[in-house]
């Protein structure tokens, strides 16, 4: 779209001359996130259309005024943090204003009696974590994107970190939340250990991907940096044996911070990276942490459970090596995605334990002839776990890349529905999952979401075109 007359001047009046840009290169830089479909298209010369302008507000007052201006003029407004989402949530599909949060990146307050930190959304995850570690605390939130994603992005997509089995996902870390709705209404939900009056509005805004306005502040729960970490590595005869062991670990009441089980294909790759030369099978990595006595006791029990479920315990050094490479997956993407014809993506789904094995089998069987399909289990819960699939196809020609990518998504989503799983665990919905959201939520669920969206954003300016609600 082209902006209504006067919008740019009014944005400049709100945020300042230097905080608004219509420069083509500035707009192109925020035109897309890391949704592989957009990257493949970019590689093919089909750049994602950029927004009409970029604005960098410095505070919630400016955010409020920008939203009200956009409502008044019918201008779409799309939040943008670091642009490292993988589902296209920050793509301004209808043009308009991209609201970049990078000038709202402050740590506002510490309450270490309660273990709280209050932050603005634009702070980079790793900068927040470093500040916490300096004080002897940790968020416990370590997504593999930690060096390149923002707290606002975590909240908007409901991310989960590598240690979520112990520390929970970002949903569990939010004690308080401040939101600016599109009409300028400010919602301030104070930090509380538990708030039981009515529905939990904090959760309403988590995963909202800018469709309900902008989260302008969040108070996150912190944890003391553990005194000790005890690592465990093991090999199972099959992925299914490993799943059974993981289930037993969770059912036993253990809460390892790290809990990762790789299927045999992924294990072969990991073994070469991690220096594991002790046979094939399903590689299992875990860490227990806390007070030294507790961490050691938990690890000993975890080893017992693994052995009871057929594991061969191997040298734990592989786990330390894994930690040293914990953010490296993105570097592989950088190497392979520019290759013409290549298709590379990850899809994370989840299911209850009773259906997890079937979901794994269905995806592997349907796609292994077309693509390299790797899978690992991570993010364990009492009732189930996440399966994280990595797909790579390097042999195709460029014309088939996007059709293959589409087929890949169709197949995984269908297999997930048929197996009784959920189509997303922690990458959000955005554009990638929009075609499947109605099936995921059901008619009543999607109608509820539609009504909430209409109530909070009656002008339809907050990140329009997402979730398949208004097509």
């Amino acid at each position: 779209m082209s902006l209504a007359a006067g919008v740019i001047d009014r944005l400049r009046a709100i945020a300042g001359e230097g905080a608004v840009s219509v420069d083509a290169a500035d707009r192109a830089a925020v035109a897309h996130d890391l949704w592989p479909r957009a990257l493949i298209a970019e590689r093919q010369g089909s750049s994602t259309p950029p927004p009409d302008c970029v604005v960098w507000p410095a505070n919630r007052t400016e955010v409020n005024a920008i939203y009200r201006l956009c409502v008044e003029t019918g201008t779409p407004v799309v939040p943008f943090g670091a642009g490292t989402g993988v589902c296209g949530a920050s793509i301004a599909v209808r043009g308009g204003v991209v609201l970049d949060t990078k000038r709202m990146a402050a740590i506002l307050a510490w309450d270490l009696d309660s273990g709280y930190v209050r932050v603005q959304p634009g702070i980079l995850g790793i900068h927040l974590e470093e500040a916490c570690l300096e004080r002897g605390w940790t968020t416990g939130h370590y997504p593999s994107s930690l060096p390149c994603s923002t707290v606002g992005g975590f909240l908007a997509t409901r991310s989960a970190g590598q240690l979520s089995t112990r520390y929970g996902r970002i949903d569990d870390m939010v004690a308080g939340l401040d939101v600016v709705l599109p009409d300028g209404t400010e919602v301030s939900l104070a930090a509380q250990p538990a708030a039981g009056a009515g529905p939990d509005l904090r959760r309403l805004f988590l995963g909202s991907e800018g469709c309900f306005g902008l989260i302008v502040e969040a108070t996150l729960r912190l944890h003391r940096v553990p005194e000790r970490r005890v690592d465990v590595a093991a090999l199972f005869g099959s992925f299914h044996e490993g799943i059974a062991a993981a289930r037993e670990i969770l059912h036993t009441g253990l809460r390892p911070s790290l809990l990762r089980l790789y299927d045999p294909d992924d294990s072969a790759l990991q073994a070469s990276h991690l220096g594991v030369g002790e046979g094939s099978g399903a590689l299992f990595l875990a860490s227990c942490e806390g007070r030294a006595t507790v961490a050691q006791a938990e690890a000993s029990t975890l080893i017992e459970v693994c052995r009871e479920n057929g594991a061969r315990i191997i040298a734990p050094a592989a786990v330390a090596t894994w930690y040293s490479r914990r953010y490296d997956i993105g570097f592989q993407q950088a190497k392979y995605l520019p290759v013409p014809g290549s298709v590379l993506d990850t899809i994370e789904v989840a299911a209850p334990w009773s259906r997890l094995g079937a979901l794994y089998d269905a995806v592997k069987e349907r796609l292994r002839e077309r693509l390299v399909v790797l899978c690992h289990l991570s993010h364990g819960y009492v009732d189930g776990a996440c399966l994280y699939f990595t797909f790579a196809g390097m042999g195709g020609d460029e014309e088939t890349a996007l059709p293959l990518h589409e087929e890949l998504w169709e197949t995984v989503m269908a297999a997930t529905f048929e197996s009784g799983g959920t189509i997303a665990h922690h990458h959000g919905a955005g554009l990638a999952r929009a075609p499947y959201l109605a099936t995921e939520l059901g008619p009543g669920g999607v109608e509820t979401l539609r009504r909430i969206k209409a109530a909070l954003d009656p002008a339809g300016v907050a990140n329009p075109g997402k979730w398949g609600l208004d097509r």
Binding site: A25, A28, R43, W56, C148, G330, F331, A334, P338
Partner: protein
């Protein structure tokens, strides 16, 4: 690092494509991004811009390509976090700058800087830029020298222009330690400004002139005081196939060895040490300056950013010339670290950094390393 029809030679074109597909894992280290908040102002954005430039008829002769090439101090903060095969971020930046030069689009202020450097003048100011004749200062240093000594001092533009006191201080420290040295017969720029502004032919010419200059002496070692000059002569020139006929070492390393023989006469004082990017990240010279300071009796305190995570003063990469506002932002970040350290003196191994820091933090005195060492042996 040559230009092709598309503007970047094969391996750097591949590097740009790979960097542009990376999840921006170095972004948290990039000072420019932190200062401007503009998504394109980070290595990923610069690489993505280069990919666009390679695909368009205008190539690198656009305002966007120029901005992408020069909104960077080449501080290499992005290098430690980067593990993408085939991507060396400063190399890519210099290759893009060479492509901009080939396209005839180099900012005029950069061309002027290269011209001044080729004429043998050194920068005595950056904001606004000013240039001076280094001959009188070299003569002062030469007064302390031992002709034909195997150690040859090459102060370099940054030290000669931005921190003249450090040049003579280095000579006094070496003399006090009984280390004989000779001094280059005249000043010749090594070519760093030409590398900075993408004029690769001039880089070759200027390096060759320095090689000839060194050849005129009997030296086996060449001690280079300006960190960026030491990098170009000691690291970059060999990689380009250009031999300097003496073993190149940063003077800070020479001073550290000499300082072991010093007998400091002043009581110990606490100082913070700032790692210059071109010493710490580009040449891994981190421990030696600290060891030198300790030998001279100082207690060395650390800044928040140190070694591989040091914060750039903003004086590198031509940034003060092309983007003075951003360069000032770099200095504010570093000044914050200095203020936080709670010391009354900060020492750095770079004359340009010292000049930048002078007066930046109220109540904090600034010394280049050689000045700090000289102060202890000359006190009282």
């Amino acid at each position: 690092m040559t230009a092709s029809a598309s503007g970047l030679a094969g391996e750097q074109a591949l590097a740009a494509h790979r960097c542009a597909m990376c999840p921006k894992l170095c972004r948290g280290a990039c000072p420019t991004l932190e200062i401007t908040g503009n998504e394109r102002h980070q290595p990923w954005g610069h690489a993505a811009g280069a990919v666009v430039a390679m695909s368009r008829p205008q190539g690198f002769a656009t305002s966007a390509a120029i901005e992408n090439a020069f909104a960077c101090a080449t501080c290499s903060a992005c290098t430690p976090p980067c593990k993408v095969d085939g991507v060396e971020t400063p190399d890519l930046t210099w290759a893009v700058r060479a492509a901009v030069f080939e396209a005839g689009a180099t900012p005029e202020i950069g061309l002027q800087a290269v011209g001044q450097a080729k004429a043998g003048r050194v920068p005595v100011g950056v904001d606004p830029p000013a240039w001076g004749d280094p001959a009188p200062l070299l003569a002062q240093l030469r007064a302390l020298a031992t002709p034909e000594a195997p150690l040859l001092l090459f102060p370099g533009c940054g030290a000669l222009g931005m921190r003249p006191g450090a040049v003579t201080a280095a000579g006094r420290v070496l003399a006090a330690a009984g280390v004989a040295f000779d001094v280059v017969a005249e000043h010749r720029c090594c070519g760093m400004p030409a590398l900075t502004f993408g004029d690769m032919a001039s880089v070759h010419d200027m390096l060759s002139e320095v090689a000839s200059l060194v050849q005129r002496h009997a030296a086996t070692r060449l001690a280079v005081q300006s960190p960026s000059c030491a990098f170009l002569l000691g690291v970059r020139a060999p990689a380009m196939g250009l031999d300097i006929p003496a073993a190149v070492e940063p003077t800070q390393r020479t001073l550290a060895a000499a300082a072991r023989a010093l007998a400091p006469s002043s009581p110990a004082a606490a100082v913070a040490y700032h790692d210059p990017c071109y010493l710490s990240r580009h040449q891994s010279v981190v421990d030696e300056p600290r060891a030198a300071l300790r030998s001279a009796g100082y207690e060395v305190r650390e800044l928040r950013g140190r070694g591989a995570t040091t914060k750039c003063s903003g004086r590198g990469g031509g940034l003060p010339l092309t983007h003075p506002e951003i360069a000032r932002g770099y200095l504010r970040r570093l000044s914050g670290d200095v203020a936080e350290a709670g010391v009354s003196t900060v020492v750095t191994g770079c004359g340009s950094c010292a000049a930048a820091l002078d007066g930046a933090v109220a109540g904090v005195a600034v010394h280049e390393l050689a000045e700090a060492l000289a102060a202890t042996i000359e006190a009282g």
